[in-house]
Amino acid sequence: MGIRIQVFSTIGALFLLAVVFELIRRRKLKERYSLLWLLTGFVVLAFALKRNLIDILGRTLGIAYSPAALLLVVTLFFILILLHFSTVISELSDRNRKLAQRLAILEWRMRNLLD
């Protein structure tokens, strides 16, 4: 793996980690939703720093151009994160539904009491 791509992916991973850290610090990101992002950052960082890791991975997967293996890893993590978000959205919409139903029924009860 070339030195340039190594430097570039190190910077990228550090930047991602810094942004996630800062978002958590400012309470704009909850810890439970940041874990996958942090994991992604650390994995990319590990691959960027330890150059033979990526070569081993590339060889194992039969990828001739080993930096492409890094892309593969990153893509995999992105898919994981998106899937995680889909489950979070599903849960939120479920709770939202229950809340709206509760509200409609409580509103009816309240009107009933006032009449």
């Binding site: 539904r97 709206a100 139903q101 509200l103 409609a104 029924i105 509103e107 009816w108």
Partner: protein
């Protein structure tokens, strides 16, 4: 014996008034609750004027959620029988007794009014008929008996079914899924013949693209549902 008629309504100002009146005429002993699913027109005002129970959902959540709200209401207020009648005027309240009957006689836990059980000259567009036929065979296969009209929303449920549906009700396009869900949880389902009218106001919520989404979504939901453990989802 306390009976509740659940009328889900989304922008049904043209038809809701007469649906309520006809329901009262034919089921004078029943209470009526309108579940207003975030309508943008005067649906809620009409229900208020008619003096029925009115549940206003704060925004549009879909027919399944609206219907379930009605079932939660029925369960919390201890109704023995709940009848679903659409707010668009397609269901004829004069036929509601025929749907309630088998529940009263304890012949079934849930009764579905079917357009296709008897030939009554109801004209369905070909595409929809094909869709319904597909669903019908798919669902009949699962519940191992003939269900001719799984998409019909003209239904009645007894106490146990009310409680079950108040806890677990499918979200969008819920009717076919609810049939399978009820069957898998041991409820006895019976179809009775009805005649469905042309809709009076509003528009059908089914366009071609939605119909495709409908077919895929419902088939998938039913299929995956078969791998769930029996019992309520919450």
């Amino acid at each position: 014996m306390r009976v509740l008629v659940i009328i889900p309504a989304y922008n049904e100002e043209e038809s809701l008034g007469s649906v309520i009146e006809e329901t009262r005429e034919h089921l004078p002993f029943a209470d009526v609750v309108v579940v207003n699913d975030g309508s943008l027109d005067s649906t809620s005002r009409i229900a208020e004027e008619k003096g029925v129970f009115l549940l206003n959902l704060p925004y549009n959540l879909g027919i399944g959620t609206a219907m379930q709200t009605g079932y939660i209401f029925a369960d919390e207020n201890d109704y023995d029988i709940a009848v679903q009648i659409d707010g668009d005027g397609q269901h004829d309240p004069s036929e509601a007794m025929g749907i309630i009957g088998p529940v009263l006689e304890e012949k079934a836990d849930v009764v579905i009014g079917s357009r296709y059980l008897e030939e009554r000259g109801y004209k369905t567009p070909l595409a929809r008929r094909v869709g319904i036929a597909l669903f019908s065979s798919y669902i009949s296969l699962i519940v191992r008996r003939r269900i001719t009209d799984p998409t019909s929303g003209f239904r009645a449920a007894n106490r146990q079914a009310i409680r079950f549906l108040s806890r677990d009700y499918p979200s969008d396009y819920p009717e076919p899924e609810a049939v399978v869900l009820l069957h898998r949880n041991g409820f006895r389902i019976l179809e009775v013949p009805i005649t469905m009218r042309e809709r009076r106001g509003g528009r059908s919520s089914i366009t071609f693209l939605r119909a495709c989404y409908y077919m895929i979504k419902v088939s998938l939901a039913i299929f995956i549902g078969l791998f769930r453990r029996v019992g309520n989802g919450d």
